[in-house]
C-alpha cells in the first residue's frame, strides 16, 4: 500500500494525503474520466445481463406455439423493458463509456473539460436506470414498447405507473447523456494537445465529436416528448390525447425525430472504434481519412431528414412517403463509403486476426446485412408489407447488435489491456467470438424469413402455422447460445482482471496516444506528450525514434 498520487496542485487540496487503497469509495467519489468510463461499461454489462434475461424469457415463450408461460400483460412488459434497457441502459452507456474513457487519452489531455459534470452525468444515468427497473416493484413495468407509442402510453390504456417511471427514468438518463455530449465537445475542442489540429484527430475522436453534436440535436426532442407525456399522465394535459384535442401522431414525430438519429448515435462511435481497429491490425493508415470523417458527418446531417420512414404505415400519404423514401435511400451512400474505406484499409494490409479484428471483420458482414434490410424498408411497398413483422426485429438486431455491439466488442477486446492492465487470452476471446457470432446469426437470420411469412412482432404467442415452430425453436436455441456466450464473456473478463497476465503499455504496436501511457494509465494520464504530426501520432513517434523498442507482441503473449 502506498500514497495515492493526486494530480492536483497542492493549494487546490491542501494537506490531503490518501492511501492508494480506497476501495469502492475511490470509484463512487471519482471524477476521473477513466474510472467513470469504466463504470459506464460496468453499468452497460449489468443492464445487458438484465435485458438479456428479458430476451431469453421472450424466446422461451416463443419457442413453441400457443405457449402460456408468460401472460400477454407480462410479455408486453418484458419486450418493452428489453428494448428500453438495451437502447438506453446498455448501448448508450457503453458508447459513452468508451467516449469518456478514450477521448481525453487520445487527444493528450489529462481529463474531461468538466470532471464533476462527467461524474454527475454517469450517476444520474445510473439512477435513471434504477428508477426504470423500480417500476416492477411499484405496480408494473412500462408496457407500450421501447418507442412507447400514443395512445398506448395514455392512462386509459396503460394505467399502471410503469410509463411514468419510463418518462422519469429516461429523462434522467437523457439529461446525463446531453451533459456528457457537452462535456465531450468542449474537451475535444479545447483540451487537445496544442500541436493536434482538428485534421489530426484520431478517427474515433472525430466520431465522438460528431456524435456529441448529434446527441445535442436529437435528445431534446425525446426529453420534450417525455415531459409532455408526463404532463398528460399526471396533470391531465392533452398533448397526445386525441379526445382532448391532442395528436397521437405527434408522439411518433417527436420520438422518431430523436429515434432515427439515435440509431446513428449508437453506431457512429462504433464506426470510430472499427476505424482504429482496422488500421492497427492491418498495419496501414485508414483508407480515405477525409472520406471516413466526411461520411460520418454526412450521416449525422442526413439523420435528421429521414425519420418519417419509421411512419410510412401511419397514413401520411403517398406524397410524403415518396419524398422520405428517396431521402432514406440517400443515407446508404455515406454508410457504403465507410464500408469501402474499411475494406480499402484491409486491402493489401498485413492482417492480424486478433479477437478485436475478428469482431471488426464480422461487423462488415453483419452490419451490411442490417443495412441492406434497412434499405429495403425505404421502399414504401416493402415497408407496408413487412412493418410490424419479425423482419423488422431481425433488421434492427443486425443494426444494433451486428453493427453497434460488434463494434463495441471489438473496442472492448482492443482496449481491455489498456483499461485493466491485463490481457484477455486470445484463445478465450476467440471462443467467445465464435459462440456469439453463431448464436447471434442463429437467433436473428431466421427471423427475416419469419417476418416475410407474416409473423407479427410484439405478440406474445403464435398459432402452429407451417414452418413457424421449427424456425422459432431455432431462434430460441440461438438466443441461448448468445446468452451463454455473454456469461462466458463476463467470466473471462473477471478471470483476466483477477489473474490475467500483465499487459504491456502498447501491446498491439498501435498508432494513437492512449498507448503511450501506462496500462492502466495513472490518475494523471500524461506528464509529457510528443508533438503531433498526423492522426497516427504514436506511429510517428516510433518512426522518428529508430531505437524505439516494441513491447511484447500479444501474438506471443497468449
Amino acid at each position: 500500500m502506498g500514497k495515492l498520487h493526486i494530480p492536483e496542485p497542492e493549494e487546490a487540496l491542501p494537506g490531503v494525503e490518501l492511501e492508494d487503497n480506497q476501495g469502492l469509495l475511490q470509484w463512487i467519489s471519482s471524477v476521473d474520466h477513466k474510472q467513470i468510463g469504466i463504470m459506464y461499461l460496468w453499468m452497460a454489462l449489468f443492464f445487458m445481463l438484465l435485458g438479456g434475461l428479458g430476451a431469453l424469457l421472450m424466446r422461451v415463450q416463443l419457442a413453441v406455439p400457443r405457449n402460456d408461460l408468460l401472460s400477454p400483460e407480462i410479455y408486453n412488459q418484458v419486450f418493452t423493458m428489453h428494448g428500453t434497457t438495451m437502447i438506453f441502459l446498455v448501448a448508450t452507456p457503453a458508447i459513452l463509456g468508451f467516449s469518456v474513457y478514450l477521448s481525453p487519452l487520445m487527444i493528450g489531455a489529462n481529463d474531461m473539460a468538466f470532471p464533476r459534470l462527467n461524474a454527475f452525468s454517469f450517476w444520474i444515468a445510473l439512477c435513471g436506470g434504477f428508477l426504470l427497473y423500480f417500476s416492477f416493484l411499484a405496480g408494473g413495468a412500462p408496457d407500450a414498447g421501447w418507442f412507447n407509442y400514443a395512445p398506448l402510453n395514455q392512462r386509459p390504456y396503460s394505467p399502471s405507473p410503469g410509463i411514468d417511471y419510463y418518462c422519469i427514468g429516461l429523462l434522467l438518463a437523457g439529461s446525463g447523456t446531453v451533459a456528457t455530449a457537452v462535456n465531450l465537445i468542449v474537451t475535444v475542442l479545447k483540451l487537445r494537445v496544442p500541436s493536434m489540429s482538428l485534421r489530426e484527430l484520431p478517427v474515433f475522436v472525430w466520431m465522438v465529436l460528431i456524435n456529441s453534436f448529434l446527441i445535442l440535436a436529437a435528445f431534446p426532442s425525446l426529453n420534450a416528448a417525455l415531459a409532455m407525456l408526463l404532463l398528460d399522465r399526471q396533470l391531465q394535459a392533452h398533448f397526445f390525447d386525441i379526445a382532448g384535442g391532442g395528436s397521437s401522431l405527434l408522439w411518433q414525430h417527436l420520438f422518431w425525430l430523436f429515434g432515427h438519429p439515435e440509431v446513428y448515435i449508437l453506431i457512429l462511435p462504433a464506426f470510430g472504434i472499427l476505424s482504429e481497429v482496422f488500421q492497427v491490425f492491418s498495419r496501414k493508415p485508414i483508407f480515405g481519412y477525409a472520406f471516413i470523417v466526411g461520411s460520418g458527418m454526412a450521416i449525422a446531417l442526413l439523420a435528421f431528414g429521414v425519420w418519417i420512414h419509421h411512419m410510412f404505415a401511419t397514413g401520411l400519404g403517398i406524397t410524403v412517403n415518396g419524398f422520405f423514401s428517396a431521402s432514406s435511400l440517400l443515407i446508404g451512400i455515406p454508410t457504403g463509403v465507410k464500408i469501402f474505406s474499411w475494406l480499402g484499409t484491409m486491402w493489401g494490409g498485413s492482417l492480424r486476426f486478433t479477437t478485436a479484428m475478428l469482431f471488426a471483420t464480422a461487423f462488415l458482414v453483419e452490419f451490411t446485412i442490417g443495412g441492406l434490410s434497412g434499405v429495403s424498408f425505404a421502399i414504401v411497398p416493402i415497408d407496408w408489407q413487412l412493418t410490424d413483422t419479425y423482419y423488422v426485429v431481425a433488421h434492427l438486431h443486425y443494426v444494433f447488435v451486428g453493427g453497434s455491439l460488434f463494434g463495441l466488442l471489438a473496442g472492448l477486446f482492443y482496449w481491455f489491456p489498456k483499461m485493466s492492465g491485463k490481457i484477455i487470452p486470445e484463445k478465450q476471446g476467440k471462443w467467445f467470438f465464435w459462440l456469439f457470432v453463431i448464436g447471434f446469426n442463429m437467433t436473428f437470420l431466421i427471423q427475416h424469413a419469419l417476418g416475410v411469412l407474416g409473423m407479427p412482432r410484439r405478440v406474445y404467442t403464435y398459432p402452429d402455422l407451417p414452418n413457424y415452430t421449427w424456425m422459432n425453436m431455432l431462434s430460441t436455441a440461438g438466443a441461448f447460445i448468445m446468452g451463454f456466450s455473454v456469461l462466458y464473456l463476463g467470466f473471462i473478463i473477471y478471470k483476466s482482471i483477477k489473474s490475467g497476465k500483465k499487459a504491456p503499455d502498447d501491446p498491439w504496436n498501435a498508432y494513437t496516444l492512449e498507448w503511450l501511457t501506462t496500462s492502466p494509465p495513472q490518475l494523471q494520464n500524461f506528464k509529457e506528450v510528443p508533438p503531433v504530426k498526423s492522426f497516427r501520432p504514436l506511429r510517428d513517434l516510433k518512426q522518428d525514434n529508430p531505437n524505439w523498442q516494441l513491447q511484447d507482441d500479444p501474438w506471443k503473449i497468449d
Binding site: 482538428l198 485534421r199 458527418m297 454526412a298 442526413l302 431528414g305 406524397t319 419524398f323 440517400l330
Partner: protein, 299 residues
C-alpha cells in the same frame, strides 16, 4: 388574351401561348418588364463593378441572371402564379439557393479601390456576424409564407392599382439569398467564415427550412387561400385530374420541397465545405491562413 398575362407588376409580353389552349401548359411563356428591369439593373451593376469588362466568373453571374429569367418567364411561373403552390416553392428555392449564390460567386475580382472597400466592409460585417446572413436567408422564407403575406403577394390580391409585391418578393429572395451565401461564397475568400462554422451555418439553415416545410406539409388544407380560388385559365382539369395533383397533394409537395430537396442543397454545401477543409494541404491558404488581418480594411 390580354387579361391572361396581366398578372404582375407590369403587363407581360407573351412570347407564345394562346388563349383557350387548356390542354397544354408548356406554351405559356412571357417576359415581364418588371423582371427585365431587375435583370438589366443587375447586369448594369456588374459592368459598373467590373469597369465595363467581363471578368473571370462572369459566366456564373450571368448564368444566375439567365436562371432568374427562366424561372420568372417560363410556364413554371405561370403554374406558380395560378395553380401550384409546389411550383411556387420550386421557384423560390431556385432564386434563393440557385440564382443568388451564382450572383455572389460571379462577382468580379478586379474592382476599383472604392468598390473594394465597400465589398470588404460588407464581407467583414457578414463574416463577423454570420447570424445576419443566416437570418436573412431563413427569415425571408418564413416571412413570405405567413399566410396573409403569402396571399397578398399575388397580383389579384389588390383590386386596383399596380401590385408591386410580386416584384418585391423576387427581389427580396435574391437579396436575402445573396446575403445568406456571402459568408460562405463571398468574393473575398479571406472574409469567408471558418468552414466548420459554415457546416453549422448550413445545417441550422436546414433545420430552419425543415421546420417551415414541416408546418406547410402538415398544415390543414386551405390556410393558403390563393390556390383554392376559381380556375382562371381552364387548366384545372388538366392539373388536378390529368396530373393527379389535388390541392392537398400540392400543399404537401410544397412543404416537402421546402423540407427535403431544400435541405439536401444545404447539406451538399456542408459536405463541400467539409471536403475542402479536410483535403486542404498544409500551408494551402484556408480562411484563416491567408495572411489577411481580419481587422484590416484593405485587401
Amino acid at each position: 388574351m390580354k387579361e391572361l398575362f396581366l398578372y404582375d407588376a407590369f403587363a407581360g409580353i407573351p412570347l407564345c401561348g394562346t388563349e383557350g389552349a387548356a390542354d397544354s401548359i408548356w406554351g405559356n411563356w412571357l417576359l415581364m418588364p418588371g423582371v427585365l428591369l431587375l435583370i438589366a439593373g443587375l447586369s448594369g451593376l456588374y459592368l459598373l463593378l467590373s469597369g465595363g469588362k467581363l471578368q473571370k466568373g462572369a459566366g456564373l453571374y450571368f448564368g444566375g441572371l439567365v436562371l432568374l429569367l427562366l424561372v420568372q418567364s417560363s410556364p413554371l411561373h405561370f403554374l406558380a402564379m395560378h395553380y401550384l403552390f409546389s411550383a411556387h416553392m420550386v421557384g423560390h428555392i431556385i432564386i434563393l439557393l440557385g440564382c443568388a449564390p451564382l450572383l455572389v460567386l460571379g462577382l468580379p475580382e478586379q474592382v476599383g479601390p472604392d468598390t473594394q472597400n465597400i465589398l470588404a466592409a460588407v464581407s467583414k460585417v457578414l463574416s463577423q456576424r454570420p447570424w445576419l446572413g443566416w437570418l436573412c436567408g431563413i427569415g425571408v422564407m418564413w416571412f413570405w409564407h405567413v399566410t396573409a403575406v403569402f396571399d397578398a403577394a399575388f397580383p389579384a390580391a389588390l383590386a386596383t392599382g399596380v401590385n408591386l409585391l410580386p416584384l418585391l418578393l423576387t427581389f427580396s429572395l435574391l437579396l436575402a439569398g445573396a446575403l445568406f451565401a456571402w459568408p460562405i461564397l463571398g468574393p473575398l475568400p479571406a472574409y469567408r467564415i471558418n468552414p466548420l462554422l459554415g457546416v453549422l451555418y448550413l445545417f441550422t439553415a436546414c433545420v430552419g427550412c425543415s421546420l417551415l416545410g414541416l408546418l406547410i406539409t402538415f398544415a390543414p388544407l386551405g390556410i393558403y387561400h390563393h390556390y383554392l380560388s376559381a380556375d382562371a385559365y381552364g387548366f384545372d382539369g388538366l392539373i388536378r385530374k390529368g396530373w393527379g395533383i389535388t390541392a392537398a397533394v400540392d400543399q404537401q409537395m410544397a412543404g416537402l420541397i421546402m423540407w427535403v430537396p431544400c435541405c439536401f442543397v444545404y447539406l451538399s454545401g456542408s459536405l463541400y465545405l467539409l471536403h475542402n477543409w479536410l483535403t486542404a494541404k498544409d500551408g494551402q491558404p484556408l480562411w484563416k491562413e491567408s495572411g489577411l488581418n481580419l481587422e484590416g480594411d484593405r485587401i
